[in-house]
């Protein structure tokens, strides 16, 4: 039988050793988000500084490439040096690496949750294609400015940078709608595409990401300005200009409250105390953003302080930490779904769970175990198949978020009941998508692993236990 014949799409499952899959996608995703947002903020920064360079200079030298004399009459004499200096290279590198890590995200998402990315492609492929068009314009404009910027007239420079900035922000606009849909798809996840795109968390999320992009651009600019061969006063003047683009950070608390208000109540509950790990990460993201925002607004803009290259680099690192923590929370808040009410983190739809409760979690799984010889009996082999199908997306057996560690102190009865009533054991777990034999098989597998995987292990076959597990499953319907 071809794996394509299975009505539920089963995909081959890869193991990443002690790393849980969330760490793999998180590692790639956070780097990509950081680079991509910097490329967007960097574009806005270049446009702003070019505008500064041409203000007043234009009257002295209209429509021609600005001469050094004309530049000296600009309201910000060194702005042009910044625009033509190291910063465009940084932006260029970030958007090339951003593109490559974007491709990496696609491949990694397939590794971690092929069905989820497939669902998103099905739903939003045309808008994803629009995002690609925007990104293509961004890349062409960026390269053109990098290659020919110094030879262009003032007006053309401004147009090219405006095109870059707008195209890069539009790519954020479109990808934001697709990503925010995962958590707040609305009452009808299969409804019109624009209804899904402009979902409840679209606007606060877009506002937040835009502000983060501007702040990253400003902070990176402060680092670059410190490397320029200027006097301290000249650098201070440029830093004050750059810092202005980070001042929208003052709106972050409002957007944060708005975001929390529109996400599902249970997700909000996990974030605000229900899950201490998520609460701590929210605290880290919020605290780091507060520190950066306060430093920029109070220190640089109001008090007109100077920021050294070392401090600016530290702020960029802090911003990376805030981005990482924020992305962790955004991903975690979707539990137990990858697309709310549509697909569980196990890549099973709510409608499919009922069928799997009858026929078993792995009855249709066409892929055999890679290490079947490791298991002493068929029940453990079945347990390994169930673990691969239902647990492996978020857990490992002995590594990160390990099943063996989580359940090592549980009694046999606890194991059976907690797994059978999984969504009642912990609210961010999906319902168990298998039958009583599957529950017993994975219970035995976990006990065997906790015991150190001995070469002999008895098979259990107690009708009373089976009936009890079946009753618990019935008490926790999908």
């Amino acid at each position: 039988m071809s794996p394509l014949d299975s009505p539920i799409p089963y995909f081959p499952v890869n193991d990443f050793g002690p790393a849980m899959k969330g760490m793999v996608i998180g590692g790639v995703g956070i780097v990509h988000v950081f680079l991509a947002q910097f490329a967007i903020g960097g574009g806005a920064m270049l446009l702003y500084f070019e505008r500064l360079a041409q203000t007043k200079a234009r009257s002295a030298n209209a429509d021609r490439a600005a001469s050094p004399e004309a530049m000296r009459s600009s309201i910000e004499p060194n702005a042009r040096r910044f625009v033509d200096g190291f910063f465009p290279v940084l932006v260029l590198v970030s958007f090339v690496l951003g593109a490559l890590t974007g491709v990496a995200i696609w491949f990694t998402t397939i590794e971690v949750g092929a069905r989820t990315i497939g669902l998103m492609i099905d739903r939003f492929h045309w808008l994803w294609a629009v995002e690609w068009v925007c990104f293509s314009v961004e890349v062409c404009a960026g390269y053109a400015f990098y290659r020919c910027g110094k030879q262009l007239s003032d007006a053309t420079r401004l147009k090219l940078l405006a095109l870059y900035a707008v195209a890069s922000w539009l790519s954020l606009f479109f990808i934001n709608g697709i990503l925010s849909w995962q958590l707040t798809p609305g009452d009808d996840p299969t409804g019109g595409v624009w209804q899904g795109f402009f979902n409840a968390s679209f606007w606060p999320s877009l506002g937040f990401r835009t502000i983060v992009a501007l702040a990253l651009g400003a902070l990176a600019a402060c680092v670059v300005i410190n490397t320029m061969d200027l006097t301290r006063d000249e650098r201070a003047a440029l830093i004050r200009r750059a810092a202005r683009l980070a001042t929208p950070m003052v709106a972050m608390p409002i957007l944060g409250v708005w975001y929390f208000a529109v996400i599902p109540a249970d997700s909000r509950q996990w974030i605000l105390g229900g899950s201490i790990a998520m609460t701590m990460f929210v605290g880290i993201a919020g605290g780091a953003s507060l520190l950066i925002g306060a430093y920029v607004v109070i220190g640089l803009v109001v008090k007109r302080l100077y920021v050294s290259g070392a401090t600016a680099t530290l702020l960029v690192a802090l911003a990376f930490g805030a981005t990482a923590a924020g992305e962790f929370v955004r991903e975690g808040a979707r539990k137990p779904y990858t697309v709310r009410n549509v697909l569980y983190s196990t890549s099973i739809t709510p409608a499919e769970v009922a069928g799997l409760r009858v026929h078993g979690a792995t009855a249709g799984d066409p892929y055999p175990l890679r290490d079947a010889d490791r298991y002493p009996n068929d029940q453990l082999k079945r347990g390994a198949l169930v673990e691969r199908a239902l647990c492996d997306a978020c857990h490992t057996m002995h590594g990160a978020n390990a099943l063996a560690d989580l359940a090592s102190t549980w009694t046999d009865e606890q194991l059976r009941m907690n797994i059978a009533k999984l969504q009642k054991t912990k609210g961010f777990m999906p319902p168990f998508a298998g039958n009583a034999d599957d529950v017993e098989a994975i219970v035995q597998l976990m006990k065997w692993e906790i015991a150190g995987a001995p070469p002999q292990w008895p098979t259990t076959d107690d009708p009373k236990q089976h009936a009890l597990i079946a009753r618990w499953l019935d008490e926790a319907p999908p």
Binding site: S2, P3, L4, P9, F11, P12, V13, N14, V96, L97, A99, L100, V103, A104, W106, F107, T108, I110, E111, A114, I117, G118, I121, D122, R123, F124, H125, W126, L127, W128, A129, V130, W132, V133, C134, F135, S136, V137, V139, C140, A141, Y143, A144, R147, C148, Q151, L152, L160, L163, A167, T190, G192, V193, W194, F197, P366, Y367, P368, L369, R370
Partner: protein, 310 residues
């Protein structure tokens, strides 16, 4: 519509990555020979940009293939697993190697060889993935064995076919761009065509059905290839004839289009039926508008750059 967009964007992607892959090999060969070569000089400068655009252009076919062959594409990705994902670090290394080739003469030979190896690895991996997508009867067995490579019957032949195509694409682009010796580029183009023909014949001998998309396309491919070879032969004999280069370019475009259709032929019958969500997904009008505006914007950028360069 999706199939057309897939093929069109794949063709666009092929032009850029063909230039990069074959161009890097050419630069590597000339660097090893320590040759003072205007073609290599011009190519070195353009390679990073061409790779950036090539990767960007590659995102679109990557998107559309996930609609046409979702389960096959994802399964092949997963079966090759981390070995498949190695294409991303290979591209990163290759990209920076191109900058080293461009900026640091001292490291040029090593960087060009590293870049060539990276791009060859990526091209080979795509050939492997393509064949593995079609081998669904063997997926379970491959998974159980934990194999991370798929040396199917057609992988080497497929790779040879496209490597030849890349060489010809590079020759055509370089001919338009540089003032170097067109005779040498014509020789590269003809060698590329020979390699493609050999690879194609090998594929057919291995059971590839060239007529799966209809009997017309292989005929178009053969006729266009013959015309293309003739145009390049004229260019090799009389290198200053712009008409021959225009003809070679025109026939090259037809060869590329026909080759892509013939390549996809066996997969046409395997295109997945519309998924419920995909069938009802809106946004096509938004894409059409964006495509028009984006094309206009890019055309303006190209015109601006050309004006400056002239």
């Amino acid at each position: 519509m999706i199939q057309f967009l897939y093929l069109a964007t794949l063709g666009l992607h092929a032009v850029f990555v063909g230039y990069v892959a074959a161009g890097t090999v050419y630069v590597a060969v000339q660097a090893v020979r320590h040759a003072d070569d205007p073609i290599a000089d011009a190519t070195r400068v353009r390679l990073p940009f061409m790779l950036g655009v090539g990767i960007t252009a590659g995102v679109a076919p990557l998107l559309f293939v996930q609609l046409l062959h979702q389960r096959r594409f994802y399964t092949a990705n997963l079966l090759l697993g981390p070995r498949w994902m190695a294409v991303v670090p290979a591209l990163v290394v290759g990209f920076y190697a191109l900058y080293v080739v461009k900026q640091l003469p001292r490291w040029r030979v090593a960087a060009a060889i590293v870049g060539s190896a990276c791009f060859a690895f990526v091209a080979w991996s795509w050939s492997e993935l393509h064949d593995l997508m079609l081998a669904d009867a063997r997926w379970a067995e491959i998974y159980a064995a934990g194999e991370r490579t798929f040396i199917g019957a057609g992988v080497a032949a497929r790779f040879a076919t496209f490597a030849g195509g890349m060489a010809t694409l590079f020759a055509a682009a370089a001919c338009w761009q540089s003032h170097g010796p067109a005779r040498r580029l014509a020789a590269i183009a003809l060698a590329g065509r020979a390699l493609s023909i050999g690879g194609g014949a090998w594929l057919v001998a291995r059971g590839f059905d060239a007529t799966a998309a209809g009997a017309t396309w292989p005929i178009v491919l053969v006729v266009a290839t013959v015309a293309d070879i003739a145009a390049w032969a004229v260019l090799a004999a009389t290198p200053r004839r712009d008409g021959a280069l225009t003809a070679a370019t025109a026939t090259g475009v037809v060869v590329l289009a026909a080759a892509l259709v013939v390549r996809e032929g066996p997969r046409l019958a395997l295109v997945e039926p519309d998924h419920p969500l995909a069938a009802g997904a809106g946004g096509a009008v938004a894409f059409a508008i964006a495509a028009i505006l984006g094309t206009l914007a890019i055309a303006w950028i190209v015109r601006t750059v050309r004006t400056v360069q002239e």
